[in-house]
């Protein structure tokens, strides 16, 4: 585990194991994983497909609970959060970027961003202002009124990043954020995430099998068959 002095970790995992029970078999996706993630850090969870990266992300985000070990978020064991508290935590403090963007097709770029702001209780006019500012910051104002089906992959990914930034999240979880992009676009996204960590003092955790991302990150946690190998 890394030591970052007196700063409390944003997310902390201690001997975390996650097992899924099937009808006639059990699958252990994550085995005895421990690490801490701090504000201002960009961490890469690196491993091949099926290594447990995504399961680990869901544990870090409080979307699932560990079978063994403890996961803490913002200094508190997630077992002590109620479902309602976890929902509010996600709305207020966690941003998500998904592999296939998962923008809502029926909403425009601006509305996709505003959705997150609505969930954390931001008022209507403040939502508009903030969504517009984010679109400007990512240089995609021209996408404001467009629906995802009319956007390129790169444009969708930028809108997805804007959505993840909408609630000023302290923790940003990105699952294969460059997986659907060409190399140049992928690097563009990872630079944005890097800037978020360094300039925005966010804790950014990226799961990917793309080794090229390693050079932009502070720490690489390698996973294989659910175990940390480094």
């Amino acid at each position: 585990m890394n030591s970052h002095g007196p700063r409390p970790p944003i997310a902390g995992l201690a001997h975390v194991t996650k097992t899924f029970n099937g009808h006639d078999h059990r699958t252990t996706a994550v085995r005895d994983v421990s690490f801490e993630a701090f504000a201002g850090e960009l961490i890469l969870l690196l491993g091949p497909s099926g290594s447990g990266k995504t399961t680990l992300l869901t544990l870090i985000a409080g979307l699932s609970r560990p079978t063994a070990g403890t996961v803490s978020l913002f200094g508190r064991d997630i077992e002590r959060f109620s479902a309602k508290e976890l929902q509010r935590l996600r709305a207020e403090k966690i941003g998500f970027i998904f592999q296939t963007f998962l923008l809502i097709d029926s909403l425009t770029a601006r509305e996709n961003i505003e959705a997150v702001l609505r969930f954390n209780g931001t008022g209507r006019s403040a939502r508009r202002t903030k969504a517009a500012a984010l679109l400007r910051r990512l240089q995609i104002e021209y996408l404001a009124g467009r629906f995802p089906r009319t956007m390129s992959q790169g444009e969708k990914q930028r809108v997805a990043v804007a959505r993840a930034m909408a609630n000023d999240a302290e923790l940003i979880i990105a699952d294969e954020p460059t997986g659907s992009l060409e190399t140049k676009q992928g690097l563009g996204i990872i630079r944005i995430l890097h800037a978020l960590a360094k300039e925005g003092n966010k804790c950014v955790i990226v799961a990917s099998h793309d080794l090229r991302l390693a050079e932009f990150t502070d720490r690489v946690i390698r996973l294989e068959d659910g175990r940390m190998t480094s």
Binding site: T54, L57, T58, A61, L63, S64, Q87, R88, L89, R90, A91, E92, I94, F96, F98, Q99, L102, I104, D105, S106, L107, E111, E114, A115, V116, R118, F119, N120, R163, N167, D175
Partner: protein
């Protein structure tokens, strides 16, 4: 964001149209059945409601004229008229009879009354005049329309030829319609000159009805004497206990079908958009927001269907009344508002059923 509910519905226009069509038909069915209910309810007792009799005197244990028999003799009638306080005691004879026109045969509720007193005659004439002679007959408007009778036409009634002299309204009891002839003619038909179904009594001005009612009871213990209100209530009760509850039942089935159709659409919509809902959940959407989306969709469909149903209903009623004049449908604003509220309630119920599906949408689906 607020447009999500609308846009997702509009994304499948054919399905949306079919759903609105199905729900609209259910609403039209409810509108129609309740309108028929009201039409029948009013039509069946309108004759009694508009009657100017203060007291109704019938055979013992007879409570109504819709579904019951009563025979009162001329002698009893004579004694009624002699009770102090009785101004007029007019006999009325009700018979089931048939009218023939060409190949068509129609059943009527033949009402024989004394033209001189007018008591027991048609409550409202829309054409022509009341009966004066034994060759005259007044027909109900819907019956006349159905059999294409008009004033002046001859009518064949059980071997006698009468002439239509008037057309009445408020005399359509849906399953049967009233027709009016002289009491003498009606009595001649059955061959018992002194018989009546009941006597309609008008009392002297200023005399308390209850007192006269009691006196008639005492004078003729073998007869039933009802004041106007009680007799009207008896007939309304009798009418309601007949086939009318069936209309309510079918209307209720319409409401259930509406709920099922809506639930199906909403559930399919949720399943098709489950990724959206999983994303919303993962991004921290409160459950209430997701419920709100489903409820909004249900109410949108219910509103659109109600408007469509209203647009169809009135022309449809006009068409049905043209094709089947005996079908009397009456709608009121309150009735329409009531049904629209029921539709809104059922749409909320359908959204609550569909909302259960949201519980089985998991966060992890966004990472698949």
């Amino acid at each position: 964001m607020d447009m999500y509910a609308v846009r997702t519905l509009r994304s499948q226009p054919l399905r949306l149209a079919l759903t609105i069509g199905g729900v609209s038909l259910c609403i039209v069915l409810m509108f129609f059945l309740l309108a028929v209910y009201r039409g029948v309810a009013d039509g069946s007792v309108e004759y009694i409601r508009r009657n100017k009799a203060d007291l109704w005197v019938l055979q013992r244990n007879a409570t109504n004229i819709l579904r019951g028999s009563s025979l009162v003799s001329a002698a009893q009638g004579e004694r009624i008229s002699r009770v102090p306080g009785v101004k007029t005691a007019a006999p009325v004879l009700f018979l089931l009879s048939t009218i023939r026109k060409g190949e068509k045969v129609g059943t009527i509720f033949l009402t024989g009354y004394e033209p001189e007193s007018g008591l027991g005659g048609p409550p409202q004439l829309v054409q022509g005049r009341a009966v004066q002679t034994d060759e005259d007959i007044v027909l109900d408007r819907s019956f006349a329309e159905k059999f294409r009778f008009k004033v002046g036409d001859p009518v064949d009634l059980q071997g006698s030829r009468l002439q239509v002299v008037g057309i009445s309204r408020g005399t359509n009891a849906f399953v049967i319609q009233y027709a009016f002839v002289t009491l003498r003619f009606a009595r001649a038909l059955i061959g018992f000159p002194g018989l009546a179904t009941c006597y309609l009594v008008q009392i002297d001005r200023g005399t308390p009805a209850a007192a006269v009612q009691e006196k008639v009871r005492l004078a003729l213990p073998g007869l039933e004497v009802y004041d106007h209100r009680t007799f009207l209530d008896n007939n309304i009760r009798e009418m309601k206990s007949g086939f009318l509850p069936l209309l309510y039942t079918v209307a209720a089935i319409g409401a259930v079908v509406l709920t099922v159709i809506l639930s199906l659409l909403l559930s399919v919509n949720i399943l098709e958009r489950r990724k959206d809902f999983a994303v919303f959940k993962t991004l921290g959407s409160p459950l209430g927001f997701l419920w709100g989306l489903v409820i909004k969709q249900a109410l949108l469909i219910a509103s659109a269907s109600s408007v469509a149903a209203l647009a169809v209903f009135f022309p449809l009623v006009r068409l049905i009344e043209k094709l089947a004049p005996e079908v009397s449908a009456k709608s009121s604003l309150g009735q329409i508002i009531g049904i629209v509220l029921v539709v809104a309630l059922m749409s909320l119920l359908s959204s609550l059923i569909s909302i259960q599906r949201l519980r089985r949408i998991y966060f992890l689906e966004v990472f698949a």
